[in-house]
Amino acid sequence: MQGLAFLLGLESTAIAFAALLSVLSAISSRAGAGFGLTAVLGLPLIIPIVLISTRYGTDILNGILWIDTAHHLLFLGALTGGIGTLGFILFPYLWRD
């Protein structure tokens, strides 16, 4: 159960990063500004994901029972869901001419 919870957090973080960085790369590539813009736009958006996932990961690795730190996973899931859904909806709009 503990391992599964860790894996869930890992997957959730990975999906959040993937969705966020795909949309930001799309924006900066459409803007024609290269990767500098991705870094500038991405940094503040990445901070909350990193903060929550590291806190969740350290909690699990320190042997805290997963149900006691599940609120972090819940929040990570909300963040992933929000970013993923929005990215999915907005992606076509970015490429439309």
Binding site: A33, V40, L45, F75, A78, G82, I83
Partner: protein, 350 residues
């Protein structure tokens, strides 16, 4: 006429708010219940008892000193202490006339005074040298809760004390920021669904521009408040980090606009990014702090300024403050929007 009326109203409300915030005095409260490390003779019980000092904040014990009553209370047990003398308006000496067997170690201290009303100091007395007997009881003394005879005053809150006035700045500034970012969010959705002209893009950028300033002011007032109540300008707290990240995300919005030259592309990309930014704002400032422990009031089981804390005097200033700041923010947004439109017209001139 109609357009200037609400602006004048907003300014009037803010003038009222500032005047009230600065002029209304703070109500009385209890600072400390202090052991003096001396033993005095109790006239009531005819034996030696430890001497304690009650220290109040803004109290009026020098008026009617004979009617000051001091009680301690724990687990439904109430005991009256003997008031030896009232030293001045904020200091009184009491004798700890308690039996040796007590039902608890930790006690709330209450004072009763006709001018100040009933004041409470939570866990003001801690007795470690007594015999703890959960069944120890004694007849309750007569206790009538007084209400304060003072005029309009803000409630005394431990640790917050005079900085409670910051409530009229900090909270409405964030509310106004939420309102402006909400306007920007709606404008961005409209821009994405109807990309033919830049009207909604102008709305979005004007509201975000003004909203960032309100966010920065909210951070500054919050930082000041944290320095006073928590002892540090910044603490690692989900609510505070979320607020900072939100302001940074919206700064990214302005950076993105600088990076794109083509107007129609800029409108679309900025609108897409703005939707992201607003979702992040809602998640970080309204969802996350409720799920995690936070020092910030109103979050993580930490009582905020709810019906218990907001008394009628605070309400009479706080609600107008929210309306006043929102009206001012809307006005600033409309002025910025008009500037954008005028600039666009100027660019179109031959």
């Amino acid at each position: 006429m109609k357009n200037t009326l609400w602006k004048a109203l907003g300014i009037l409300i803010l003038v009222y708010v500032f005047a009230m915030t600065m002029l209304v005095p703070l109500g009385p409260g209890l600072l400390e219940f202090q052991d003096v490390n001396q033993v005095i003779e109790s006239t009531r019980e005819g034996r030696a008892v430890p001497e304690f000092q009650v220290i109040g904040f803004g109290t009026h014990w020098d008026q009617l000193p004979d009617s000051l009553q001091v009680f301690v209370q724990s687990k439904g047990q109430l005991a009256a202490l003997e008031v030896i003398r009232v030293d001045d308006a904020t200091h009184a000496t009491v004798g700890l006339t308690l039996p040796y067997s007590l039902p608890a170690k930790s006690w709330n201290v209450l004072t009763n005074h006709p001018v100040d009303g009933t004041l409470l100091l939570e866990n003001g007395l801690f007795l470690s040298d007594r015999f703890i007997d959960a069944k120890a009881t004694w007849p309750a003394p007569s206790f009538i809760e007084h209400s304060s005879q003072l005029g309009l005053h803000f409630p005394y809150q431990p640790r917050i004390v005079e900085t409670i006035r910051n409530l009229m700045l900090h909270v409405p500034l964030w509310f106004t920021m939420f309102l402006l970012m909400g306007i920007g969010f709606v404008a961005s959705i409209k821009q994405l669904s109807n990309p033919r002209n830049q009207r909604d893009d102008d709305r979005a950028v004007a509201s975000v521009q003004v909203g960032i300033w309100f966010g920065v002011l909210g951070l500054l007032t919050g930082s000041l408040w944290a320095r006073f109540t928590w002892g540090a300008w910044w603490v690692d707290d989900p609510q505070l980090n979320g607020a900072l990240v939100t302001v940074l995300v919206y700064s990214g919005y302005m950076v993105l606009r600088q990076a794109v030259d083509d107007e129609r592309l800029r409108a679309r990309l900025a609108a897409a990014y703005n939707l992201f930014a607003f979702v992040i704002l809602v998640i970080l400032l309204m969802v996350l702090p409720r799920f995690s422990e936070s020092l910030h009031p109103g979050k993580g089981g930490n009582p905020g300024f709810n019906s218990y804390d907001l008394d009628s005097a605070l309400r009479a200033v706080f609600y107008p403050a929210v309306i006043g700041w929102m009206l001012l923010g809307t006005w600033m947004y409309l002025v910025t929007l008009r500037m954008k439109r005028v600039n666009r017209q100027i660019e179109l001139l031959p």
